[in-house]
Each structure stands twice: as C-alpha cells, then as structure tokens.
Symmetry: C2
Subunit: 279 residues, 2 copies
C-alpha cells in the first residue's frame, strides 16, 4: 500500500493565474501530492480571474469537495474581499476538514475561515511564488507543509511555542478592521507584513490597526518584512520597525520583535489559532 | 461702529505650509477677516510640520483661544491622525464656540470634532488650495463662508435640504472605520471624495466602508470627484461611480448620486451635522 497522496485544489480568488505557473508548480510537486488547478484560475474578467460569482463558485466547489485535502490559493492581487459575502454560507462539512493556505490579498478569506472556525488555516507561500527568483524554495515549503511530508520544518519558528497566532498583510487587515468580516484576534500573537507601501501609508495603516479594539485585544505584534518601499518626496524619518514600535507603544500593544514572513521566497508558514498545552 | 471682523486661526495638523501661501491668502482675504497663521505651520520635523506634540499643542492652543472665531486647517498631507489621542481632552468652552474647516487628511480631526460635538464642523477648501490653478476661487469661497459674508453661497447645494450630513476623503474615512475615533454617521447623508487612488484601491476602500456598520447606518452615499486616477497594469473595468454604485447596492446602502466636492478648486462646503426642521 502506497503512502497517502495529498490532493490539493487550487483556486484564484483575485487575479488570473499565468498558464505557465501550473506546469512549473506541478513539475516540482513530487509524488506525495496531486494538484488540481481549477479552470477558474485562468478565466479573465477585467481585473479579475473571472466574475465574483465564478470565483466564489470555484472556491465553494473545491472547499466542499470531499476528495480534496487542502485548498491552496493560487496568488494574491486584489479581489478576494469581493467573495466574502458570496461563499461562506455555502461551506459544509467537507470544507471544515481541509487546510487552507495563502497570503497577501487572500488574507481576506483566511480571516473569515479562521473566524468561522472552518478548517486549518495557514498563512504561507502560493503557487505564483514560483515566479520569484528562487521561488522553488517557497513552493516546496508550501507543498511540504500541505502534504505533511516536512512536518513543521517550514513553519515560522516563533509560532511553534504554545500560544495563539494569526498572520496578515497589513493593508488587508486594515481593510477588514471595522467591517462585519473582521477577525477575532483576542489573545493572539499577530504577525504582519506588507509590500510596496510608502512609509507614510504604513504609518496610517498602523494607526488604524493599533487604534482598533480588534488589534488591541491581541497578545502582541510581530513585524514581518515590508518589501520594497517607494521613495517619497520627503523622507518619512522612521523606518517600518520604528513605525510599528511607535504605534504599539502609543496604544499599549506589546511589540514582540520581527517575524520571518513577507512577500518573498523566505516567507515562512503561520498556522492560525491556538496550539500547545491547554489550547 | 465697523462690522465685526472674523478672526481665523490657521494650524497645520500634517505637513508643512509653504511660506508664500500665507502672504497670498492674506492678500486676498479682505477686511472682513483677520488671519492668524500659527508659527507651527512653518515648522519642519521629517514628514511633518513639527512634532506630533507641536502640532497638537498649536491646534489645542488656537482652539481654546477665545479671541478666535474659527480654526482653518492649512493643508492636507498625512499627519492629522497622529493628533487624535493628543489634543481632544484639552479642548474647553472656547473650542466649542468655533467653526472648523478643512478636508482631505484633516478629516481625521473633523471626524472627532463632529463626534464629540465640538463647534461647527465643515468640509471645505483650505489655504493651500491657493496653489491650484484658479485656487483663488476656492480660498474666497472658504473665507466667505468662515466670515459669514457669503451666507451659504459656497455650500454644496444638495446639503441645503433638511437632513444630516458628513463629508470625508474616502481613504481617511476608511482609516477611521473600526478605530476608537470612528465617527457616528447614523442617519447622515455621507459625501465622499478621493484623489490619486487606483480603481482597485477605491474598490477595496469602498468594500471597507460599505461592509462597516458605521457606514451602513448612514442615510446614503453621494460620490464626489475622485481626482486623477493612476493607470493600472490592467484596466479595472469599472469607473469610480460604478464602483460606488456596486458596493452600495451590494450592502443595501442608498446611492444618492454625485456630490460637488473633491480635491479641486470647485470643492464646495459641507457643514456636518443636522440642519432644518426638527433637526
């Protein structure tokens, strides 16, 4: 009897997936997993990989498919928030037995899955990371985690201690704050990262996060990488860690140091929710 | 006995005011008003017109000055949100007898003033609008309103009907949603505008606004101008009005048409709060 093959369904909740990506990711996937790229990944509808209905349907179909073990979000790029009021009421028992993984814009879906207690939710690399230089490492890390072959080797080290965890793109979490889809972060160590935002925008985003009761209920914040930051017409005078420290201090939130996550090939995996003794 | 001269104090809650602006605005102010540019307007501290403490102190000092009739925010540019937890607990009786006017980033302060019931709060042109082509008209409109000389000639026509009103920059309001400083918009017609955001970002901002109970409690939304919108690598497929209509329809908020506000010289004045019979 052979080892169990992990069956992974791939959907694109925001922008379209380049055709070549499926082949490249499949080629390095190995025998422990079988990848199913939903045809929706390759639809075009303006900015998006198909209409809101097409993307929501693909997500709900694969989530509810009892033959699949995991849903792997294909890529980021704006669009996942438009599925929040179209998919979740349809998720049934099979959806609750799955692992879900993605980051960046797909954090909108991670947030609702985690809040609704649906499945095992993880913040980590996506198929489109294959496009980055050295992206194979990120894809292998994701597949090793989803298949179980690598155990927790790809998991962000600081999140292996007993505790409660969540990880988000800063812009995505700020967009969720105050909405009916906002996550419950109470007691969680919150890992955050961003990409390509001006320092003044990061400062404004950190104002929103740290001025919310949602984030103030967290156990503390760890700052991941913030990617290439555009040069502004006037230097902001604080870098991203100084900004994070400033707002944490100002709002009484514990700043717990850096985190090994970001929009890059080193992006480690963060499993949402509680782990460890008494969890 | 001469007519009463309206005494207007000017502070810069975000970025520094160019020196030339004070002279140009004073030159066209006329005899009905006397303008007092706080020295803080010309301080430099990295991105900001002085430290957070210096900006908060200048705002509180002028707001509490019983000899001033109005506070006119000098210009936009990120920074006003950093004063929200540093100034308001100091505002006394004299602050409650004033008119406050600004827009864009200074909307953070308009929001708290309106929520705390401090003074008469108005969304309208600022001194720095003199830098725009044809900016004299915007400055004259503001001064005519603050002095009372023009009555309601500069007021956004749709807000003259009995009702309750508020006006915000979309990014600023989205940043406030879910924070401890969020405004109470219940029953208000909400006028919104923005500048320089990609359509996909406007869509995400409208997701946040229309997915919040704060905005869902409003009587409806009127969309002002959204300024020059950068070209994205893929066309979004909807313009700003289609985006606003989409999210209003999706969340059960009344879309009430366009509004005559924006980051431009035609920007009309919106007085916050209730007006008219039974208000």
């Amino acid at each position: 009897m052979g080892a169990k093959v992990t069956r992974i369904g791939i959907v694109a909740p925001g922008r379209v997936l380049d055709e070549g990506i499926a082949d490249r990711v499949t080629a390095i996937a190995g025998d422990a997993v079988e990848l199913f790229f939903h045809p929706q990944c390759f639809l075009h509808d303006g900015h998006f990989a198909g209409s809101d209905a097409a993307r929501a349907d693909a997500f709900a179909q694969f989530a509810n498919d009892p033959s699949l073990d995991a849903i792997w979000f294909a890529r980021g790029g704006y669009g996942a928030c438009r599925l929040l009021d179209m998919a979740f009421e349809r998720l049934g028992a099979a959806a609750r037995r799955k692992t879900y993984m993605g980051y960046s814009d797909t954090g909108f879906l991670l947030a609702r899955l985690a809040r609704d207690g649906i499945g095992r939710v993880a913040h980590g690399p996506m198929p489109a990371d294959i496009l980055r230089e050295g992206g194979e490492a990120a894809v292998r890390r994701a597949i090793g985690f989803l298949s179980g072959a690598d155990g927790e080797a790809g998991v962000e080290p600081g999140t292996l201690a007993p505790g409660k965890y969540a990880a988000y793109n800063i812009s995505v979490l700020a967009s969720l704050i105050g909405t009916v889809h906002a996550p419950d972060l109470s007691g969680a160590t919150l890992l955050i990262e961003d990409v390509g935002e001006y320092h003044y925008r990061l400062d404004r985003l950190m104002f929103t996060l740290t001025s919310s009761e949602t984030v103030r209920a967290a156990a503390g914040i760890r700052l991941g990488r913030c990617g290439p930051i555009p040069v502004n017409d006037v230097d902001f005078g604080q870098d991203e860690e100084e900004i994070a420290r400033h707002w944490c201090a100002r709002s009484g939130i514990a700043y717990l140091g850096r985190a090994d996550i970001g929009h890059d090939v080193a992006n480690k995996i963060v499993v949402f929710g509680a782990r460890g003794v008494g969890a």
